[in-house]
């Protein structure tokens, strides 16, 4: 995780961790614990969780656009089973599903 080589590739199934740090993080609560599919490897960026406290945020961390089924994210979702929601999630928030 400490280098910028992407661990995941498009199509991989991943689960978002359920961590709830009191420090700054970008992963939205509704995505935590949910399973998704990698759609895009967005690239490596300085870690915003470290930048939030004045650090350079280096080494860079990989960011992914992940695709959830809306029915996976929202209990009792009444829309189409085809509906998706896309979230950009950093690599250290993901584990293989």
């Amino acid at each position: 995780m400490s280098d910028a080589t992407a661990r995941y590739a498009p199509g991989d199934r991943v689960r978002v961790l359920t961590d709830a740090p009191t420090t700054h993080h970008r992963t939205p609560g509704y995505a935590k614990g949910r399973t998704a599919r990698i759609t895009v490897v967005c690239g490596a960026f300085p870690d915003p969780e470290k930048r939030a406290y004045g650090s350079s945020g280096l080494p860079r961390v990989c960011l992914y656009r992940v695709e959830f089924d809306q029915s996976e994210v929202w209990d009792g979702y009444r829309g189409s089973p085809q509906d998706k929601v896309y979230v950009d999630v950093y690599e250290h928030w993901l584990e293989p599903a």
Partner: protein, 96 residues
């Protein structure tokens, strides 16, 4: 427990407020101040977010968007010893 800003999926029956509004001069100045500090690498966008998220739920709900930025910029400038609270308060008095 989710931060006060982490509202995605929070249940509500309230309609989404789609109204826009013209920015006041002080709001443009607050934006410009942030950008000037960012250009000089004195403040990062992630620090601004972190400070916004650290506001109490009451402050977060009651302050407007740029009021939150203003509060966060003051917190960051004092945290980084660029200005002191006393200097800021004195300037407010001088300008008032």
């Amino acid at each position: 427990m989710a931060g006060v800003h982490d509202i995605g999926g929070r249940p509500t029956d309230e309609p989404i407020d789609r109204s826009g509004h013209e920015l006041a001069d002080w709001e443009r100045q607050t934006d410009a101040l942030y950008r000037a500090l960012s250009e000089k690498a004195l403040v990062y966008s992630d620090e601004l977010r972190r400070c916004n998220e650290a506001l109490s739920p009451e402050q977060y709900e009651s302050l407007s968007y740029y009021e939150r930025w203003s509060a966060s910029l003051e917190a960051l400038l004092t945290e980084k010893f660029i200005l002191t609270t006393q200097e800021i308060d004195q300037k407010v008095l001088d300008l008032g």
